[in-house]
């Protein structure tokens, strides 16, 4: 090994603590990148393989009753590769051991594997057999949630007839990777199941012989989604078609997409924070080393080493540390990616989920790591290269200090000499102080941002379940019934309050923008399910006009007072111009609301309801449940308590892991920044501090100078960090704004409190590590040498 390389490794060993701290911060950035990208790649590849192998459709459409030849016409539309009519229906499922009825979606299947689109993977048992109309396949999540075994019997209400079904198999489908019930916020596999039954059995049950009510199709390579949808809508309109939609609006697939987008956003937002901080740490640490090495550099040059030899020496130091960071980042990133992918395996239902780390992911992450390191140190290394050999011969002057602005403001008399040392030191290197403050602030910000997820989701839950959807139960009915039904529900045991509503599908158009929505018709004086505007005021639908949720308004670029074109997809399919009377706050879904009577007038079918919200007496709920199981018209039932529970379970499982990662990262950044900053100021001031010890200052007093400086910087950084955290949260809110849901920009005071406390703890921890070295200062060695 050359002497220069020996020096390199001794220097590296000398700053090992700092080098490790920097490597860990780099690793944080790289790990997030590798984690997010590998999880996205894995999910994407898995989904692609599953969708392709099992021929997941591109377009989905529902109708009332279309004759089978319409499916053939649709198949002939240019751009359509294959189209299949089938029967799909919402039903109520009665599972033994569960008092409340579950909701389900029953989908027809050509017996013995004749279905070509949306095929299923049979995980256990066997496929349906011809001439066994009571055989059923259930989705795996539902089977697991209830411990259903092959041969078990469950009951379903088919077109008002209760019927026992024998489970012959457990299946997965690309259509229900994310098996979420209609109107649900998160999947509740206990209360929502998917059933596959033979086409013949369902044709008979729903009186659809020779017809279908649901159609899916795949596009040919050249097929245009938009054109095909227009054609399908035209062909299905006479048969009660309520509008075709693509995968982007297919609930399950849209959720998978949105999850991948979230990961991609994380890959964009988080790693830069780490890498910027790593660049900054490199900058200050290498600058310090070079400053201490000035004379040696001068000497080396005097000996005849070239500029390149000298520059390369320090660049190698940087690259070695970076390489360590990249290596740690790769391995933890792969491990985290594996853990996150494991979460998705439970969360989504894929038959297989192959974890993979692309070599391109590794290459990209290594490049950004090296890039940030080089950016952080280039100017410093250039400065080292520019040191003239003569420097070695001249003694250094004491650093030039000045009275700081604080003292010029006349505050000097309040400061002791050590306090002045702190203040002047900070103002002597303002850029470095600012960078340290920025680093600490970023760690506060990351903490605020990660804890913000809890606040936001909590707020979402509060607004959804406690401010707007306050009903204990929501019922939906098979057929649109007259208001008379309301009085039958009133009579059920334990029902305290009933509020009815109507749901009707329509297209809203403003200018060239169009959205397919379910308009909900509400009565004027709703107590249970309410609308709340941006200012927390309860809103009632006026007799005319339409109310839009803020997201829907944004998608349509609609403002209060704009006139939207409403094309009903049900009833007489009328088209009306309606003013947007209000825009309301809503975090889940795309809501559109009207007065129920006005909606019924628009649909032109008389006084109709499609569901009811109930307030119930909990004590006699079991009686209500069994009564409900006997209501033939019941199509769906959502219990708020169950929804709340699944919601918090999901947060528990899913969010906690992610947040654990962020918290670890934030702590790493805090420790990395604070430790490095304290180490540098210790090494720069070792002489000064040793002098103080010689003068009779105690360890505690000397330590207080270092600690005071850290405390001051941290103190300034904390509020800035809270602000930056708010900024990051705002950025995430903007990035996570999807059709499915959006996060409220709400940060609890306690979140700031926790973030601040954790960073203070990190400061104390790093300060402790460094202060131990104050005790070990070698008083004699320091005194005997010049700087």
């Amino acid at each position: 090994m050359t002497s220069l390389n020996k020096k390199l490794f001794r220097d590296l060993w000398h700053i090992r603590g700092q080098a490790l701290a920097i490597a860990v911060v780099i690793a944080g950035g790289i790990a997030t990148l590798v984690m997010a990208l590998s999880a996205v790649d894995s999910l994407q590849e898995t989904r692609r393989a599953f969708n392709e192998q099992y021929r997941f459709a591109h377009v989905f459409a529902h109708a009332k009753r279309a004759p089978n030849w319409v499916a053939k016409e649709i198949a002939a539309i240019p751009g359509v590769q294959r189209a299949e009519g089938r029967i799909a229906q919402d039903i109520i499922i009665d599972v033994a051991n569960m008092p409340e009825p579950a909701r389900g979606r029953v989908v027809s299947r050509e017996a013995e594997g004749q279905s070509r689109l949306n095929d299923i993977v049979i995980r256990r048992g066997r496929d349906l057999r011809r001439a066994h109309p009571n055989e059923v396949l259930v989705n795996e999540a539902f089977a697991q949630a209830h411990g259903l075994q092959l041969g078990d019997i469950i009951h379903g209400n088919f077109n008002q007839h209760r019927r026992g079904l024998r489970i012959v198999g457990v299946a997965l489908s690309p259509e229900f990777v994310y098996a979420i019930g209609p109107g649900d916020v998160v999947p509740d596999s206990r209360h929502f199941g998917v059933l596959w039954m033979s086409r013949e059995a369902l044709e008979a049950a729903y009186d659809l012989k020779g017809a279908f009510n649901n159609l899916t199709l795949t596009l040919s390579r050249a097929g245009s989604l938009a054109d095909v949808i227009v054609q399908v809508d035209r062909l299905l309109a006479p048969y009660g078609g309520i509008g075709a939609y693509g995968r982007a609006d297919q609930l399950s697939d849209a959720f998978v997409t949105s999850e991948m987008e979230q990961l991609e956003h994380l890959a964009v937002v988080i790693p830069p924070v780490f890498l910027v901080i790593a660049a900054f740490l490199f900058n200050v640490v290498i600058a310090r080393i070079i400053q201490a090495d000035r004379e040696q550099i001068g000497l080396l040059k005097a000996f005849g080493y070239s500029y390149i030899d000298v520059g390369w020496l320090y660049l190698k130091l940087v690259l070695l540390i970076t390489a360590l960071g990249i290596f740690i980042g790769w391995s933890t990133g792969a491990w985290m990616g594996y853990a996150v992918t494991g979460l998705y395996r439970d969360f989504f239902r894929f038959p297989f989920l192959h974890f993979q780390v692309d070599s391109s992911t590794l290459a990209i992450s290594a490049c950004v790591g090296i890039f940030s390191a080089v950016i952080g140190t280039l100017s410093i290394v250039r400065r080292a290269v520019a040191i003239a050999p003569a420097v070695a011969m001249t003694p250094p002057m004491p650093s030039a200090y000045q009275a700081s602005i604080i003292e010029n403001l006349g505050l000097a008399q309040f400061l002791s000499q050590p306090a002045r040392m702190i203040v002047r030191y900070i103002f002597r290197w303002p850029l470095r102080a600012m960078l340290t403050i920025t680093g600490i602030a970023f760690s506060v910000a990351i903490l605020v941002m990660s804890l913000f997820f809890f606040d936001a989701v909590g707020k979402m839950m509060e607004v959804h379940f406690f401010e707007t959807e306050r009903q204990d139960m929501s019922l939906t009915f098979v057929e649109l019934r007259t208001d008379a039904l309301r009085y039958n529900i009133d009579d059920l045991p334990g029902v305290l309050l009933v509020e009815t509503f109507r749901i009707a599908r329509a297209k809203l158009r403003l200018g060239h923008r169009e959205e397919r929505v379910a308009i909900r018709g509400l009565d004027a004086d709703m107590e249970l399910s309410r609308l709340v505007d941006i200012n927390d005021r309860v809103v009632t639908p006026p007799p005319e006009g339409i109310i839009l949720s803020s997201t829907l308004a944004k998608l349509l670029a609609a403002r209060e007072g704009d006139i939207v074109t409403v094309s009903a997809l049900e009833g007489r399919r009328r088209v009306r111009q309606l003013p947007v009377v209000r825009i309301i706050r809503q975090y889940i879904g795309l809501g559109a609301y009207m007065d129920r009577r006005a909606l019924n007038r628009l649909m032109g079918e008389g006084d109709i309801i499609s569901g009811a919200h109930l307030s119930t007496d909990r004590r006699i709920e079991p009686a209500l449940y069994s009564a409900l199981k006997g209501v033939p018209a019941l199509l769906g039932l959502a219990v708020r308590r169950a929804a709340l529970k699944t919601f918090s379970d999901m947060i528990e499982q899913h969010l906690h892991t992610m947040i654990f990662f962020y918290l670890t990262f934030a702590a790493l950044i805090a420790v990395g920044v604070i430790y490095n900053s304290a180490r540098i100021s210790l090494s720069e001031r070792a002489r000064e501090l040793a002098s103080l010890r010689v003068l009779g200052f105690t360890r505690r007093e000397v330590g207080a100078i270092l600690a005071g400086e850290l405390a001051l910087l941290t103190f300034v950084a904390l509020p800035l960090g809270c602000l930056a955290g708010y900024g990051l949260a705002d950025l995430l809110v903007k990035l996570f704004d999807t059709k499915l849901y959006r996060l409220p920009l709400y940060i609890a005071d306690a979140t700031y409190g926790y973030a601040v406390l954790m960073v203070i703890a990190a400061t104390i921890g790093s300060a402790w590590l460094v202060l131990r070295r104050v005790a070990a200062l070698d008083l004699i060695a320091v005194m005997k040498t010049r700087e």
Partner: protein, 245 residues
């Protein structure tokens, strides 16, 4: 070996007394004996100059007297207290209350002005001079608000002397205080030390390589190879201004 000089009668308690003081730096294989048994007494109010070749143990001896270092064996007494029995905290307080140091490299705090460097010490001392008085003593009353970077080497060293004497220490320990200075500037610094000795009665120990400086001492102690090679007493102390090199 002659123990007592003219200025150090038996009636006076010595400021320092060392008993068979040794210091060994243990290395792998070859130990370095920096001090090989020093027995010495230093008296109130005297100026002592330590001479000797490089590596003879002068700095080691001074650092042990000042409570910066521990001997390997032997005892050091400061007045009636045994320094060698002190723990680190006690040594810190000892330095704070009794000792002033002046080093070859001035070791001022660059972020504090001359006045503030002195105030650093007066703020924690029991019965200090004012920083202004201390700086006047070394002739720097005009440069009090300058930062070290704005002072010459000699001026910086005089600030260091002022800082050391401002707390009215019992002893001033100076390790090559003129080592980095030219002759005229060095004499200014020595004059400052002498002035303090005269006006405050501070005992001063000065290490130097400059035999000329020995003339300003009451006693001159020669070190060689970790031992005391000889002690000579000056009948007449020369004032610092009369010295030159």
């Amino acid at each position: 070996m002659e123990e007592d000089g003219k200025h150090a009668g038996e009636s006076r308690t010595p400021v320092f007394r060392t008993v068979n003081l040794t210091k060994v730096y243990r290395g792998d294989g070859n130990d370095v004996w920096a001090l090989r048994g020093i027995d010495l007494a230093l008296h109130e109010g005297e100026i002592v100059v330590l001479l000797g070749p490089s590596g003879s143990g002068k700095s080691t001896f001074l650092n042990i007297l000042g409570g910066l270092d521990h001997p390997s064996s032997g005892q050091v007494f400061f007045r009636r207290q045994e320094l060698t029995a002190f723990d680190d905290n006690a040594l810190t307080l000892y330095r704070r209350d009794h000792i002033g140091f002046v080093f070859q490299f001035y070791n001022l705090i660059p972020s504090l002005t001359a006045r503030e460097n002195v105030a650093l010490v007066t703020e924690i001392a029991a019965n200090p001079l004012t920083p202004e008085a201390a700086l006047a003593l070394v002739g720097l009353e005009d440069r009090m608000d300058h930062f070290p970077a704005q002072l010459s080497g000699g001026e910086q060293q005089r600030v260091a002397v002022a800082r050391s004497v401002a707390k009215r220490p019992d002893v001033l320990l100076c390790d090559e205080p003129t080592g980095a200075l030219d002759s005229a500037t060095g004499i200014g610094v020595l004059a400052a030390i002498e002035g303090v000795n005269r006006e405050l009665g501070t005992t001063a120990v000065i290490i130097t390589h400059n035999a000329g400086i020995a003339a300003m001492a009451d006693r001159v102690i020669a070190f060689a190879d970790g031992r005391i090679a000889g002690i000579s007493v000056n009948e007449e102390r020369l004032p610092a201004h009369a010295i030159s090199w």
